[in-house]
Amino acid sequence: MMKGSSYRLPQGGRIDRSRLLSFTLDGTRINGFAGDTLASAMLANGVALVGRSFKYHRPRGLMAAGIEEPNGLLTLGEGGRQEPNIPATMTDLVEGLVARRQNGWPSVEFDLMAVNSLASPLLTAGFYYKTFMGPTRGSWMFYEPYIRKAAGLGEGTYEPDPDRYETRNEFADVLVVGAGPAGLAAALTAGRSGARVVLVEQDSDLGGSLLSEPIENVAATWLHQRKTELQDLPNVRALTRTTAFGLYDGNTVALIERRDHLSPDPKKGEARQIVVTLRARAIVFATGAIERPLVFPNNDRPGVMLASAARSYLNRFAVAPGKRAIVATNNDSAYRAAFDLAANGLAVTIADLRGEIDEKLRAIAARHGIELRAGTAILDIEGGKAVKAARLGPVGRSDAGELRPCDLVCISGGWSPTVHLTSHGGIKPVYREDIAGFVPGGFARGQYGAGAVLGTLGLEASILDGAEAGAQAASHAGHAATAVSLLSPAVEGEGRYAIAPQWQVQSAAHGKAFVDFQNDVTVKDIAQAHQEGYQSVEHLKRYTTLGMGTDQGKTSNINALAIMAGLRDVTIPEAGTTTFRPPYSPVALGAIAGRSVGHHFRPVRLSPLHDWHLANGAAMTPAGPWMRAWYYSWAGKDAAEAYVKEMDLVRHGVGIADVSTLGKIDVQGPDAAEFLNRIYVNGFAKLPVGKARYGVMLNDDGLVLDDGTTTRLSETRFFMTTTTAQAGEVMSWVEFLLQAAWPELKVHVASLTDEWAAMAVSGPKARQALALAFPREDVGDNKLPYMGALEFTHDGVPVRLIRLSFSGELAYEVYTPADHGIALWEHILKAGAPLGIKPYGLEALASLRIEKGHVAGLELDHRTSLDDLGLGKMAGKEKPYIGKELRHRPLLQAPERWSLVGIECLESDKRLRGGSILFLKDDKIEGHGRGYITSVTWSTELNKYIALGLFSGGLRHEGEEIVCAYPIKGEQVRARIVSPHFIDPKGERLYA
């Protein structure tokens, strides 16, 4: 219970004290309220230590209250839901939350690894590049596992994530990023014009900086009124807990919407996180600014936090982070934190680095009983696990100063406009002297900025900015709008900045002065990088790892480049910033994947005969996006056994295979024949109606693109087939040629791959099988010679027969519209049953063609030429065709080119393997050899392993003995080069 905790204020804050929530921290149950973040709940319970730092294992406390938090990274969840490095400041407290602090062993309170601190002189920038290099070359791999184990902050899990993630698309007229005063004004103005507005806010509530105002003041009232107005506009959608993490071309923004606070149930389809791709006509960036720390020795002690963070914890969460506070600042904005802390009973001293302080602020400070010291800096902090005292001294004199007991130190080094998103498009931010900060360097068309991101740090000005930007954005999106004045609240002491930058406090104290808290990078590291020549900000970043943590340098980048500029004696604009890239803050990869998980990481493509295969003992295998029948159980219990039997059936009887995956293209028009003649190497212009022809097409570079068979159905209609693998590519290719290369040709092409089911009926008894299946048709050799085509109607549906063969046996391809596929397939099986017809699968299909020496995808890999494949004689000599010129270039004519050979295994107790590297008998077995095996099978005809391959000099080596080396398994097998046409070289079976 909360009683006894002196950190929670008795009233105030935006928490709901009627809803007590319990959670566990490192196994201990503690409580907070609805409306708390994990961070505020921890603070309320007096948990000062939130983790141990990355390199030095220094005790750390919360530095911030928002996404910029570098220290308070905890591991949340258990089992498959475990997630490391989650900022406690961005985690809604929910009942039962499980949290663990990181990087301390055995505990964060007592961490043995803190001994690193003693070794810290060795652990400076780039230490791993300089140490662990010897004594031998292989030494690094000895040290590496230990370094890897010591590195990192939190640990993930290998268990599968049970949660559901989704993606979606969204469209808007106006997108407003950020719901602080400027963003609210923009959204309201755009919304009143009738535009479709989406307002995104990474926090759990709208309001931005206004959420840290005391709840009883006018700013809070203004906020409440604006929220009500927004809710009443049906065309405005406000998404909270949603971060815009990337800006892309075309006004496209990526959002991550978080729903953990709703405890989503994946079994009910409730998503935990959603990545939204939002396309907007206009975008208003109201992303605000982030406070930066002051740099001085031991500025990382628990209890040292940003002034605005202390104010947030105080006003928003009703947590007083201490009793005696010192507020150190170089600008006016921190005074508001000082005033609010004093108003809540803390003893407050302000150490203002500036010599001159505004009279009004002096007066208010005095009214609050605050001790105000101008020209004073914090030179050092005392206390290990918690701040105990701060040493205050005059600016410019780095000596001793005076030790002041305190338990809270609030620091403000100024505000850095949040220019990440606006810079994703490549427009680099520019420096403004007057605010000592970078602002967007410009905006693309249809993009606008408003508020603190532009360096506008006053409330009234921000609201005006927002209204103006909202009106411009709405107008750009086609909805006329005017910036109606939104009365802005007048808040005492607000709106003043007057920053006098001091990037680094000069101090004689020896402690580490941190610049990047998450990656433990100090001023000394920056100096060392400078000294060693890593002076550009890009080198500084990568050499020291500054800005490379999950916080991406939100509190460190500007301080660092300013310090480096000082060392280099250049101006800050000359030093420049590094490149801002998405994501703005970490996004789970699972969220980006959404529902493209499991077999849905890409779509699955199924033949129209798929269900029959499943119901009839087929084992299926993926072939690209397709699932294909691999082999059937009637033939054996596994692939190795089955395919041999299936091959046997095709060689001696008749089998039927599903070849629906082949690409099929309709080619129509008066110029269709001419078109085909230009893309195939062989002639198609004079192909007779009712005949098919095997064709090969080349790329412009003279290498083979694809092969297939094209049948002429009429004077102006052709039916083209392609390989399965290249179907899409060939379709795109022919469309491109007709649109871009030869738009004057009157040809239309359309894909028919899905329209038709296709079956191959193959084997010496194939004709008989088809005669039984189609008794009313004449399928004899006269009517249907080799490469002939026949179309007829069977039982009311169209059937097309084309007599061509992939297997080398007498064979026919049978086509019918897809919905009739299974019925026709079953009919053929039934009619042909007396002949023993059975189905055969992909494994047998592929192996049969190897015996025949037919090239397929493994040989047609876009690196082989027509001559490499032994098909050079196919090419027409007179006619032009794509690839004709470059086909003859010297590189493709070189005598030592790898060309197609057959390979037979000489060792009966060994096997050949695809991918084996080939050598001549007396070659030294090393390097890339003289070629490789492309396709392998066990030949039932020849009773040995055979293969196709590519070999330097090709069939000039016919008859010679070679070695097939497979280094992955340490195998070497003796073989011989033979003709690739292992069976029936004269093709007598085809003409049967």
């Binding site: 396309r279 009157k746 919905d819």
Partner: protein, 197 residues
């Protein structure tokens, strides 16, 4: 007549699923009993081609890609500058009549009735579910009844036709139909859906 079998034969046997709130906000199913003919004119013959087509379907043709016109039991969509899809009843002699009326020098006619699976999604949550996978603005004020979009879903090309206030028909490639159906039912899980047999 040799039996016809949908690519979704097995999928349509499933029962629907309740959504997170215990209700079923959507209806999912397949439209059967239709035919599709693609008719395309060559650019130089466009006027002659469109006159012939218009005369045969008995209505003026849609002016721009994305518009559909319904007449005499058929819907005509302009799917490209000179390309049209005509959806009609399952038994339709339009393809033959078009082949006779349109010479090969004027245009091409191609039956495609089996190449697509026609899935419908109906209900107030239809747009919300489609938005999960289709990068298209389905806002009711932007994408009106009778319009269609040539777009993509789950890395496959689809045509989406808005046929009523809360009803959309998706023409998916037949070989991807099962994958698309799995995707749709998964996307509809949070709101719940009924499978219409």
């Amino acid at each position: 007549m040799l039996e016809r079998r949908s690519a979704l034969e097995n999928d349509l046997q499933q029962s629907g699923r309740d959504g997170a709130k215990g209700d079923r906000a959507l209806k999912l199913g397949e439209v059967r009993g239709w035919s599709l003919v693609q008719a395309a004119g060559f650019p130089t013959e466009a006027a002659e081609f469109e006159a012939a087509l218009s005369s045969l379907v008995g209505t003026g043709l849609p002016a721009k890609v994305g518009d559909g016109v319904t007449a005499q039991g058929r819907t005509i969509m302009r799917v490209g500058p000179e390309h049209f899809w005509i959806l009609g009843p399952e038994k339709d002699d339009l393809a033959e009549r078009l082949s006779q009326a349109v010479a090969p020098t004027v245009g091409s006619i191609l039956p495609l009735s089996h190449s697509r699976t026609r899935i419908f999604i109906e209900g107030a949550a239809a747009r919300e579910v489609l938005a999960k996978g289709i990068p298209f603005d389905f806002d009711a004020g932007v994408f009106k009844i009778g319009q269609f979009a040539l777009t993509g879903l789950h890395h496959t090309p689809v045509l989406v036709h808005r046929t009523a206030a809360d009803r959309y028909e998706i023409y998916a490639m037949r070989t991807f139909a099962h994958s698309i159906w799995e995707w749709l039912t998964d996307a509809a899980l949070p709101v719940g859906y009924e499978v219409v047999k």
